[in-house]
């Protein structure tokens, strides 16, 4: 399990490949992997987004990411999971969040991955401030997941 808040850009596909290689090394111990990658869109609520700044609450954010992962581990049979979340300055197209779950079968992988994303978005303390042509704007709420 790896859970980390990153202050620098990351490549989600490379991070998944590296994490999988670390615990599996081509042996085939898992039967399913489900992942979610959230990236910064270049528009929001009718405005062009030029950049975004993400802030968090050191200590509490890490605590909640770990809590959410532990809850998923109790509800589903998970072999490994990976959660990475950016803070700092982001440009459109930059990955914001990666959640990935490896399990024996797809049902656990899909369900746990969705749980991680939805719980992270509603409970982990992160805040987004967009830079628009018109100025800066705090994002006040997330879009519903379903």
């Amino acid at each position: 399990m790896r859970i980390e808040v990153l202050s620098y850009p990351f490549d989600p596909w490379e991070e998944m490949r590296r994490h999988q290689a670390m615990f599996d090394a081509g042996r085939g111990v898992f039967g399913a992997c489900a992942s979610f990658v959230g990236t910064l869109r270049d528009s929001n609520e009718g405005n062009s987004v030029h950049a975004m700044r993400l802030e968090h609450y050191p200590g509490m954010t890490d605590k909640y990411l770990n809590t959410i992962a532990e809850e998923a581990g109790k509800r589903w049979s998970i072999l490994h999971l990976l959660i990475l979340h950016r803070v700092g300055e982001l440009q459109p197209g930059d990955p914001i969040v990666l959640t990935a779950v490896w399990s024996a079968h797809r049902a656990s992988a899909f369900a746990a991955c969705q749980y991680l994303v939805e719980e992270l978005k509603s409970r982990a303390p992160f805040w987004k401030k967009e830079t628009l042509a018109e100025g800066e704007r705090w994002v006040e709420h997330n879009t519903p997941g379903t």
Binding site: V97, K121, S122, W127, K128, K129, E140
Partner: protein
Amino acid sequence: MSIHVKFFASLRERLGREAQEIEASEGLTIGALWCVVSGTDCLPTNVLAALNHEYATPDQRVRDGDEVAFFPPVTGG
């Protein structure tokens, strides 16, 4: 007793500070602490509170050395 208070995101900008130390009397609730630091009445529904890195309700009481944070709804992911 001494309470360490933190503010985040739009709330930090609105209040013009990111942290402050409060000398308070025993039995102070999170809701009453909000009144002291913000100069307003009840804790609004769009302001969340955390006590020592756990979400907290306005009726929870603080103790000496506690860290309390106030912040707007979270928007990660």
